[in-house]
């Protein structure tokens, strides 16, 4: 059985200068929901654009269900569908007409067209507005229409670049519920990028984190979180007190799996907090540090991201950028 996506040592250099991808290795199983996480400029969109045959890689190979994306581009395009990050529907015609144009481009037979279009509209909860101009839709409705376009051809794999960016939590939930139903029904593979950690955590079967053009972590959400240790103990310290030497000393302790610092809080990852907390407290005291507050949590995907990328995912600024851009494009 072929992988849905197979990427071997993929490199993409723009204009001979900017290295967007630097030897990406990746396999995605058929029927999986796969999330690609990474900070801005990590290479997420470049990877998607190579996989969807829009760009040619500088080196390395990529396959969709065993078909090479460069040599068999035409065949690959028959298997995939794609929702770009930017708005990708015509706003001066209706939602139904948008779908009709795509149905015709994809050669959906004329006697099935109406039925299939109504079906995806129903799927995405857009039946009541299907004859309205897209210009009058809300941001969430436009995103759902874009995904409806991608569902139209019953692809084997869907590439969704930030499918829910800028949507409110309720709208995001609706999108994912509909995608879930569609996946169950047709066994489609879903390959998506997102800025929302909770989304990857909840909906992805498998996650990869990309940073500076390389895959730096890979696994299920549980695996990734577990790799940090079973629990995380956070100590609130004065910022000035957190020195690199402290890190090294802490890491020497056998039960410490990892140490991360964020906003004056020292996060120590351990397998079992109960048995190690007092030792850690004593250690910090012996270093002459006064601990303000202590809390014990389970590691989150955010922590995994922080460990591999060095920063948290900068959601806010980024999302408002994209929302603004989509809004401007909509107004034309």
């Amino acid at each position: 059985m072929d992988f849905a996506v197979q990427v071997k040592n993929l490199v993409k250099v723009y204009d001979g200068k900017v290295k967007a991808l630097d030897g990406v290795e990746l396999d995605v199983e058929p029927g999986e929901v796969f999330a690609l996480l990474g900070p801005n400029g990590a290479g997420k969109t470049t990877l998607i654009r190579i996989l969807t045959t829009q760009l040619k890689p500088t080196a390395g190979e990529a396959y969709i269900f065993g078909l090479n994306v460069v040599r068999n581009g035409g065949k690959v395009r028959r298997l995939i569908s794609y929702v770009p990050q930017e708005m990708s529907v015509w706003t001066d015609i209706s939602g139904y007409e948008n779908l009709l144009v795509y149905a015709k481009i994809f050669d959906v037979p004329s006697h099935e067209r109406g039925k299939i279009i109504d079906e995806v509209l129903e799927n995405m909860g857009l039946t009541h507005v299907k004859n309205d101009l897209v210009r009058t839709y809300s941001g969430g409705m436009i995103r759902r229409l874009e995904i409806a376009c991608a569902m139209l051809t019953k692809p084997k794999i869907m590439f969704l670049d930030e499918p829910t960016i800028g949507l409110d939590p309720a709208a995001r939930k609706v999108v994912w519920e509909r995608l879930g139903v569609f996946k169950e029904e047709y066994g489609v593979t879903i390959f998506f990028t997102t800025h929302y950690m909770d989304e990857a955590d909840l909906y992805a079967d498998d996650i990869a984190i990309i940073n500076q053009g390389k895959i730096v972590a890979r696994g299920t959400s549980e695996d990734l979180k577990h790799s940090l240790g079973g629990e995380v103990i956070s100590f609130t310290l004065e910022k000035a007190a957190i020195k690199p030497e402290l890190f090294q000393e802490l890491r020497k302790l056998v039960f410490v799996k990892d140490v991360l610092v964020e906003n004056g809080s020292l996060n120590v990852f351990v397998d079992d907090a109960e048995s190690t907390l007092s030792i850690l407290m004593n250690f910090l005291k012996s270093e002459g540090l006064s601990v303000g507050k202590v809390s014990i949590n389970k590691p989150t995907l955010d922590d995994v991201f922080l460990k591999h990328v060095g920063t948290r995912l900068e959601e806010k600024g980024r999302i408002s950028d994209v929302t603004q851009m989509r809004y401007m494009i909509r107004r034309g």
Binding site: Y82, V83, P84
Partner: protein
């Protein structure tokens, strides 16, 4: 081939659906040509400085003015391509099984349809102010077929330009810079013989001159002596612009 034809029809359908929802652009674009034939034509004809071969001056310029507006429509079609590039529409279209050349030709001919409506809207005004057309349906059909194909060629040129100019502002500037020279260095407002020698040379390479000549012959003068040459020139122009635009189209999304 069949695939290309089908995609062309789909793109034309898209354009017709757009026009069905919103025709204001066509109405506004009609203002300028109407001013040409309503004001410029009568004023210049009272001077009687331009030899028109016996037809009233306003009649003489009507085909030229019509084709100037359709060329405007086509050249600015590239603006829509730039917009679709900024949005994700072009990226998504290029990920469909449709080939790139069928997208280019399809979109170009879709612009031809828009141009046809633009030309048709001038007809009743011209009739009201007394322009005398040759009442021959076959001539009319051929004239509008020529306008359709020529506009497609100009739209392909604009797609070619759009693949180099990636912002709307730059495109606006270059669009103006293309159209006005084409218009003034053509036989739209005066016979080529009146131009200085250098411009006359340029006019031989100006596709607009051939289009105007053919349409003027068919609609106004009935002089079809150059028709075959005009058709060949327009066919070559279309072929060259389609090929160049298809080759360059890939750039537009990179």
């Amino acid at each position: 081939m069949m695939e290309g034809l089908k995609n062309m029809l789909v793109m034309i359908e898209l354009e017709l659906r757009r026009l069905r929802h919103d025709r204001t652009e066509i109405y506004f674009r009609a203002v300028q040509p109407i001013l040409w034939i309503l004001i410029y034509g009568p004023v210049m004809s009272s001077v009687r400085a331009i030899p028109t071969g016996g037809v009233p001056y306003t009649d003489f310029i009507t085909p030229g003015v019509m084709i100037q507006t359709t060329t405007f429509v086509s050249i600015f079609y590239g603006l829509m391509m730039v917009w679709e590039r900024e949005s994700g529409i072009l990226k998504k279209l290029l990920v469909t099984p449709a080939s790139r050349y069928s997208m280019v030709i399809g979109r170009s001919m879709a612009s031809g349809v828009r141009a046809l409506f633009q030309a048709l809207i001038i007809l009743p005004i011209a009739l009201i102010i007394g322009v005398r057309f040759i009442p021959n349906p076959a001539y009319f059909s051929l004239a509008f077929t020529i306008i359709f194909f020529a506009s497609g060629g100009f739209a392909a040129i604009s797609i070619l330009v759009a693949s180099f100019m990636k912002t709307r502002e730059r495109f606006m500037g270059i669009g103006q810079a293309i159209i006005m020279p084409l218009f003034f260095a053509s036989n739209a407002l005066y016979p080529v013989q009146m131009m200085p020698p250098i411009l006359r040379e340029f006019s031989t390479f100006n596709p607009l001159s051939y289009v105007v000549d053919a349409v003027r012959g068919l609609l106004i003068t009935g002089d079809l002596s150059n028709l075959l040459m005009d058709l060949v020139a327009i066919a070559i122009f279309d072929a060259v612009s389609f090929i160049l635009a298809s080759i360059s189209f890939k750039r537009i999304i990179e």
